[in-house]
């Protein structure tokens, strides 16, 4: 039998952590960040196309959670869906702010995360494929990109994606289908172009 001291404590569920956060427990907030910080940051960074903005958004999200954790109702859905919903809304706000600042000339922003051209970092076929996917993601319409990222990064199902995006399950599924199709087309076209380029070089 394993001594009690060596046994791992069963990790707390997200809703339990949120209840503790609502009671003012900073340790629970740290645990929540350790669990979801990475996923939310990847989602925000790839949706916004800017790592700095994503960092800012995710910090804001956790400050909001600290202040409003008591508003989470486990009966109404999963905690992870709630976290992604807050993040998605913050990302949309950030995008609008950025668009306004760029319009009035306060910002000259290029996509920091998604600016790599396919092939720029491609030293191997696998890397090239990933670079093409990143490029394809950055070119998707915003809502399609959000749906694809919520599925792939957040591992959310259609119902949860619809809840996060504030629409019906049908429209979420449509966005996902279109986004995947566009990504596949982008990937196929660019891989074909890369193969042609290689052939030309070798000949």
């Amino acid at each position: 039998m394993v001594p009690a001291a060596v046994q791992h404590e069963k990790p707390r569920e997200d809703y339990e952590l949120l209840a503790r956060v609502a009671a003012g427990n900073q340790g629970a907030l740290s645990e929540l960040i350790a669990r979801h910080g990475r996923g939310l940051r990847v989602f925000a960074a790839r949706y916004l196309g800017n790592a700095g903005d994503a960092e800012d958004v995710v910090q804001e999200v956790f400050v909001t959670i600290w202040k409003q954790a008591a508003r989470f109702d486990p009966a109404r859905g999963r905690a992870s869906t709630w976290l992604y919903r807050i993040t998605a809304n913050r990302c949309i706000d950030q995008r609008r702010r950025r668009a306004l600042r760029t319009f009035i000339g306060l910002d000259d922003v290029r996509d920091e995360v998604a600016s790599q051209e396919p092939g720029a970092e491609a030293t191997t076929a696998a890397r090239q494929e990933l670079a093409i996917v990143r490029d394809g993601l950055s070119r998707l319409p915003e809502r399609q990109r959000m749906a694809v990222l919520l599925r792939a990064v957040g591992d959310l199902d259609i119902a949860a994606i619809a809840e996060v995006m504030g629409g019906s399950a049908g429209s979420a599924e449509q966005l996902l289908v279109r986004g995947r199709r566009a990504l596949r087309d982008h990937l196929r076209d660019h891989l074909a172009m890369a193969a042609e380029g290689l052939e030309r070089k070798s000949s």
């Binding site: 910080g37 990847v42 960092e55 990933l130 990143r134």
Partner: protein, 163 residues
Amino acid sequence: MTRDEFERNKRRFGDDVDAWPAPFRQEARAFVTGETDRSPQDDPDRALDRLVLEAALMASDEEALTRKVLARIDASRRSTWSSFLPRFLLEPAGLAACAAAMLVAMTLAGYQVARLQDDLPDSELLALASGARLPDNGLSDNGLSGDGMSGIAADPAAGEDSL
């Protein structure tokens, strides 16, 4: 995901991989089932999701994030007054816009005040129109001349009669 990372995450999140948070969960599933090779017979949507995740992943430091979030919470506690202000007002652009708006408002207010002060009383205007000389020592507060008579009393016509 390497074996070490998998074991480390197992200690953090427990034995049940399906209960791990995303994206650790998908990475662990791929590691456990050896799905890193995207086989053609695999579900194409799942394969694409995996590819998207792999492409999207980036270096992340949750400890640094925690420190920054706690610092923000601490700062917001210390300066509660700032929470009543919209955030854009605390940024340089917001401050500049505020300063410009205040300047315009103060200029308009200045014009209004100056216009009120420069309003001549009707009696003075009448006197001016009729060519009367205003007394040098100005008017008293009630708009009358120092001797209690209206400026109109200094009508030049009165002077002519006396000749």
